[in-house]
Symmetry: C2
Subunit: 284 residues, 2 copies
């Protein structure tokens, strides 16, 4: 590896999986986490563990920020004091525009790039971490005012080591895209669960099957992570909700008007779009 | 088995899986399907195969209707002519009120009960059929004006043989429940896919991960099956869409007002409801 000493801040599903995947390639791995139990678990494979951010990053060549988005923003603000000589910085936050703006404000001694591995589970925490979480998955990289060829090369080396596939995107484009394929799906999933729960009928869960299970899976996402996402990507998410609401209004109109042929055409088109999406995924 | 000669009409995912699961227990199994390729496949395990409904049912003790809902309604209308001496009737249709009304109109020589196994896949057809599809899944039974203790006992015997779990429900309750846990999820899934497709951005599919895959899986459902479902359960589905729309309006308001505490409370409540639902499923 081009970097020897790495500090990962936040040992949840993402940070933990990255720690496990990168461990064999690093001469020194420091872990920062605020949960004492997580630090005990981290001691088994890390060279140093601490709850103190400044202590954890003090000798790191590369700091990887893997907390929820707004905690990343706070840590970026603390970084110049905690690591006065500067270092490389990568993050794994779920939204990228706010983080990339904050990275661009770092002193010139820092070289920073935004990152977002496009994978996850609805169950969070280090207990769920696994070293092959990223294998075959897209890993978005977002350049900003502090991105240099060196930090970009280091990020690519990490992505290669963990078996992911790099995709460079402007942070604004990333945020608009994830609003459609990640944040809206969460809200849709949550609203679906709440609509069913509003029936207040215990038997409903007995009748529910794999379709309901899969469409509501994201409703189990970690509330703190989702809160930070929604608060840092509000505009794009609201735009997506509105497009989505129009889709629902159209389908409700078709049901109310009872126009069988139009409804049939719409369902057939939906199926066709589904196949297009699945084919695009399989080609990757 | 209390019945020896069974005719299954419609060898798709449901009818095909039931045929494979029941085959060892039947002395004579007749298959009716309109697809010539499906009939060739059915010849390998069935005693007789035909595209002609009247020919298929003529000697059956029990006719199991496993086509899309509106085809079931048509077949029920043809049954008194096709099988003048009467027989037992069970169906596997996705909505139950219209079918149970039609069953109640059969002559008194028929004994009929509505059925709905709560399982499925987004991929339809006999090629996807498997004998253990129903194992451990809820199988709803809906009595009607032609339901007798005998046909009810036969239905329970079938459910036991295929390893499913019976649940008796009034047909109207069934339809209201599946509107919330099956039909709305389909529409939600379809609208989500269309909202993403509206971005018209090929890269979107590369960035999408398992969350999007799972929430849009139902959008791949067979259009003809879904059309029949929506047209025979329109009122309940429209009610669910409206409850759902209100959920979306509320969440959009929270995002627009930027009220962090209220948003946090709502996300935490969502997570709690998700755990309640998952626990109820696991207890079953």
């Amino acid at each position: 590896m081009q970097v020897e000493r790495v500090c990962i801040v936040g040992l949840g599903l993402m940070g933990g999986s990255l720690a496990l995947a990168l461990r064999p390639f690093l001469s020194h791995l420091a872990i920062v986490d605020t949960n004492p139990d997580t630090l005990i678990a981290a001691k088994k494979f890390a060279d140093s563990v601490t709850a103190d951010f400044a202590a954890g990053v003090q000798e790191a060549d590369l700091v990887i920020l893997a907390t929820p988005v707004r905690a990343i923003l706070q840590l970026l603000a603390q970084l110049p004091t905690a690591r006065p000589h500067g270092c490389l910085v990568l993050d794994l936050g779920s939204t990228k525009a706010a983080i990339c703006r904050a990275m661009a404000q770092l002193p010139p001694s820092f070289q920073a790039i935004g990152g977002h591995p496009m994978c996850g589970k609805e169950t969070a925490g280090f207990a769920q971490a696994e070293p092959d979480l990223f294998a075959g998955q897209t890993f978005v990289l977002c350049g900003n005012g502090r991105t240099t060829p060196h930090v970009e090369a280091v990020a690519h080396e990490i992505i290669e080591k963990i078996g992911a596939l790099p995709l460079a995107l402007p942070s604004q484009s990333h945020d608009e895209m994830v609003a459609a394929i990640s944040h809206l799906p969460y809200l849709v999933s949550a609203a679906l669960l709440q609509t069913a729960a509003a029936q207040d009928n215990e038997q409903l869960w007995l009748v529910s099957a794999s379709g309901f299970r899969d469409t509501t899976r994201l409703a189990g996402s970690a509330p703190q992570m989702m809160l930070d996402i929604l608060l840092t990507n509000g505009t794009a998410v609201i735009n997506q909700i509105e497009t989505y609401q129009n889709q629902l209004i159209e389908i409700k109109q078709l049901l109310l008007s009872g126009s069988e042929q139009e409804l049939a055409n719409r369902l057939a088109k939906t199926r066709q779009q589904y196949l297009t999406y699945r084919n695009a995924k399989q080609k990757r």
